[in-house]
Amino acid sequence: MDNLSETWVYLSATPLFHLTLTLAAFQVANWAFEKTGRNPLLNPVLGAVLLIVAVLLLTGTDYGTYFEGAQFVHFLLGPATVALAVPLYRHWHHVRRSAMAIVVSLISGSLTAILSAIAITWVLGGSGKVLASVAPKSVTAPVAMAIAEELGGLPSLTAVLVIITGIFGAMFGPAVLNMVGVKDWRARGLAIGTASHGIGTARALQVNETAGAFAGLAMGLNALATALLLPIIWNVLSTFFEF
């Protein structure tokens, strides 16, 4: 028994344990998702995060220790983003034909994301720090964190808000798109990618490859649009309002 607990102490301190925990939690969450016919409420990212948070709280593990193992999974986000070039290339003929529509829709969506997030948080009494952390929430995490920092927000809070936004959009985006009657895979992908970056893109890729290609494109373009527009909007707004 002593041996077992010693082994446990050793294992729980190695990256292997938390890497395995990450994959296992995702398998369980994804199994539940598939088993229920992809019930959006059982979003696998959300499920896995909740399971892991529960384990970390129960075992009194801090996030830094967890991340030593989980970083190997986290690292693959970069290569996966590069790999989005493949579906984009495959659907380039669609993209080229509707380039103007894409640009107009994307910039409008980007402005909607920025302005509505700032306006609602401000009206409901969020502090300046919180405002600056919420404003870039629809953009892929590394860009959002850099923008938040520039505006005086908290990058690590922004990272979490970005993930929550992604999960929420992936959960409820398809239902909302059905409600407003948009069936076109290009429009559905573009909308999910603009609002919910990579997590929305991952979800779109599971459903339809055209939607996935447009979502990946929207994620990249919205990162660029928000990085350029948000600092300007922030400067203009802060001359009129006290944040």
Partner: protein, 115 residues
């Protein structure tokens, strides 16, 4: 598989270098995606093995967000304090963004939807 995983990493690395050197406001992997896209355009097709490697990565893309999402554990207190403004803003803003983008693309893209 390995040559194309290498190609993907080379694109990412080159993307990081370009972003660093030019102080661009976008992440290295997004520039890496553009580089790989340009390579595919020049080549004119997707090698079968690259297709396999890419789809392997993309199929499990959801999983890759789990470690960052678990970071929520660091901000329970702050999120609790700002739950109302942040919660309402995230919900309404995300849905509004989806609706605005989708409807505009739906209307403007109609002319080009043949095929």
């Amino acid at each position: 598989m390995l040559p194309f995983l290498t190609l993907i990493l080379v694109c990412q690395l080159a993307g990081e270098l370009v972003v660093g050197a030019l102080a661009l406001p976008i992440p290295g992997p997004v520039v890496g995606m553009l580089l790989l896209f340009v390579i595919l355009m020049i080549r004119g097709d997707v090698p079968a093995q690259l297709e396999q490697t890419a789809s392997g990565l993309l199929r499990s893309m959801s999983l890759l967000f789990v470690p960052a999402g678990t970071g929520v554990i660091l901000h329970f207190q702050l999120l609790g304090e700002a739950l109302l403004p942040v919660g309402v803003a995230l919900i309404i803003s995300t849905l509004a963004t989806i609706v605005v983008t989708a409807l505009l693309m739906h209307w403007l893209g109609k002319k080009t939807s043949d095929g």
